[in-house]
Subunit: 423 residues, 2 copies
Amino acid sequence: MFDVAIKNGLCFIDGKFLEASIGIEGNRIAYVGRDEISGDLEIDASDKFVLPGLFNAHTHLAMTLFRGYAEDMPLMDWLEKKIWRAERKLTPEDVYWGSMLGILEMLKTGTTAFSDLYIHMDEVAKAVGETGIRAVLCYGMADRGDEEKARRELEIGTEFVKNWNGAFNGRIKAIYGPHAPYTCTPEFLKAVKEKAKEMETFVHIHVSETKREVEKIERRYGKTPVRLLDEIGFLDDKTVIAHAIWLDDEELAILKNRGVSVAHCPVSNLKLSSGIARVTEMLRLGINVCLGTDGAASNNTYNLFEEIKLTSLLQKVKTGRADALKAREVLEMATKNGYRAYGLEGGELRQGRLADVIVIERRFNHSPVYDPIHSIVYASYGCEVSHVIVDGELIVEDGIVLTIDEDKVVDKVERLKEKFLED
Amino acid sequence: MFDVAIKNGLCFIDGKFLEASIGIEGNRIAYVGRDEISGDLEIDASDKFVLPGLFNAHTHLAMTLFRGYAEDMPLMDWLEKKIWRAERKLTPEDVYWGSMLGILEMLKTGTTAFSDLYIHMDEVAKAVGETGIRAVLCYGMADRGDEEKARRELEIGTEFVKNWNGAFNGRIKAIYGPHAPYTCTPEFLKAVKEKAKEMETFVHIHVSETKREVEKIERRYGKTPVRLLDEIGFLDDKTVIAHAIWLDDEELAILKNRGVSVAHCPVSNLKLSSGIARVTEMLRLGINVCLGTDGAASNNTYNLFEEIKLTSLLQKVKTGRADALKAREVLEMATKNGYRAYGLEGGELRQGRLADVIVIERRFNHSPVYDPIHSIVYASYGCEVSHVIVDGELIVEDGIVLTIDEDKVVDKVERLKEKFLED
């Protein structure tokens, strides 16, 4: 008798879909196999798909508040005239409600864990606690060459790690989030990395998202961002870099040698006309690549199924090969690679792993099902998720998020938008 | 008192979303405005979005049967070893059920009309008749240099036009569908166009989808496909070319001067690693560009919301400008440009237009709504469509397709797939 038994589904196990049942005890997967099992809570998954939960590896969650706020604008106008100006108005309460809306969308579309870099992070942590989702959180820091600011930012970041790491039965992992090499000095980045090592935790940072940013770093320091980071000892297997688009071969080799993970954000990278990352080559080199949506202002959804399909499509056109990047690889990027990037034991339907599991209904758009992996990767809309379990707890049942008052969150966010319209 | 009154929605009118009600009489829109109206059938659209129906301008509909059948393969293996071999097994009955599944998916995701080029087209026409959707249909012809075959193909194509053009209250428009310049000789293409002129109807053809195909035509005829077609008098405002990826500036000018429409299929073009069409430039030149999904084997859905979002995203990265291609332009490509391409008076919420109208629910993923156009274009999944009206008739109500037995169609297609698994 397990705490939870997910019975007779088509389960994504070791890269294939097999008929199996999943038994959960506490917050871990305790059984995967074909025996008839039972549980205090039983979910009938016959004729459904069962997957490890999706991991959204790069978000600025509360930017749901700016979903559709500024569209189809040149990048710098978008940032400087709209987004940064609006962000200055954000209160902790705004971030709380924006995060609730983001978590609602992620849970409904099968994401069980996310990695967020933003501000007012206590509020994000609070939302994670209440909703039952899993998260890797960091306060987004930037010194912009100001030593006093550097000291203060690192203090806030460290305070956050101390206060929240391991909270809610370990559902929160608190890490460090220096924004990017073009907004942080090498001295600051070095200090952050040292502090992260002292605290035995991870670092999440934006690297080489735009060509322009790489050129700026080259002009300023005479070297590219990855080389710069490597020289100051920043890169190791507790470092996750987001975007990583404008990299040369030697930089890819550095990432591989240091064990750095990459959070690939294809929708955002297109929408901001940043470019298309060299994902196929990264995977061939053995770099751990996972998937993220980035903030809602440049996506505009937190539906990871869009990133899954688009990741595959873009690599096919980028490499000129319709056989580039297999469905299995992309689905693993969206699941186990995300958990692995941040040192979490999840993202696989395997005994001993964290019990973050989703159940997906079989719908008309999946039909006919030759191999479920292609139905999931190429034909899902994201709205077919029926059940979501995080840390052993049932959080979504028949598409309803049990821990969130959906109408209240949507109403609240609709009202909050007013103040951003003033400019 | 109208036949149908869609009341108090946020309606897409002349490129903007405005509060309005829509009155329908027979198969035409009879009223658009702010008066209090009533109807024999009333749909309360308050707090919902009302749009002209989407037009899927390039499909091989019954390829739903091959959705997920062959994936992540090199293009020629995919075609020759899998798709063409499987298509040889297709019976008329298979095409009927595959078409039913395709229509089901299109209606559920807000597509009110489509343009299909395939085989056993009587069955597609039958499915269109039963389900109530609107369609432009053609029998896909290829002579491959065989004069006897050319004669036979044109006969079948003409028979189809004669039998079905105008059927079901005009819901079917029957046209000609020569496959492509690399499978049809110039003589055959010329004969087809002459016949189409005689019958006063349109021609739908694949042009310049792959680089390889353009090179083949250049080797064979000493000129590119668009120049070849222009020289034989094939190009005019009753010609719709699908894909149109590998075109030079002069070819774009030819398309503009001749009034040719282009059906852009971004998902399929990525999936088969064909390339990214020069859509932004085409629109700037004034070419009428509409959107298509292509067949389900290379997509794998008929959810036009994916093409809408991806069209915008791809142009932003292709042009290097985040302000390339506005949301309004893309939404018009998906609606009025499609109808216009095939000479149909629809795709707009305007008095006198065909009454093909969809209602979309406002959901969490749209929130907050700063401007509905961005909610629709960038944040929709496709599963938010609640009501679909085609030719004045209500066909989808609260997400249920009234004219199709969904379970029966899905069951049937699941069983049909078996025979394609034999190889």
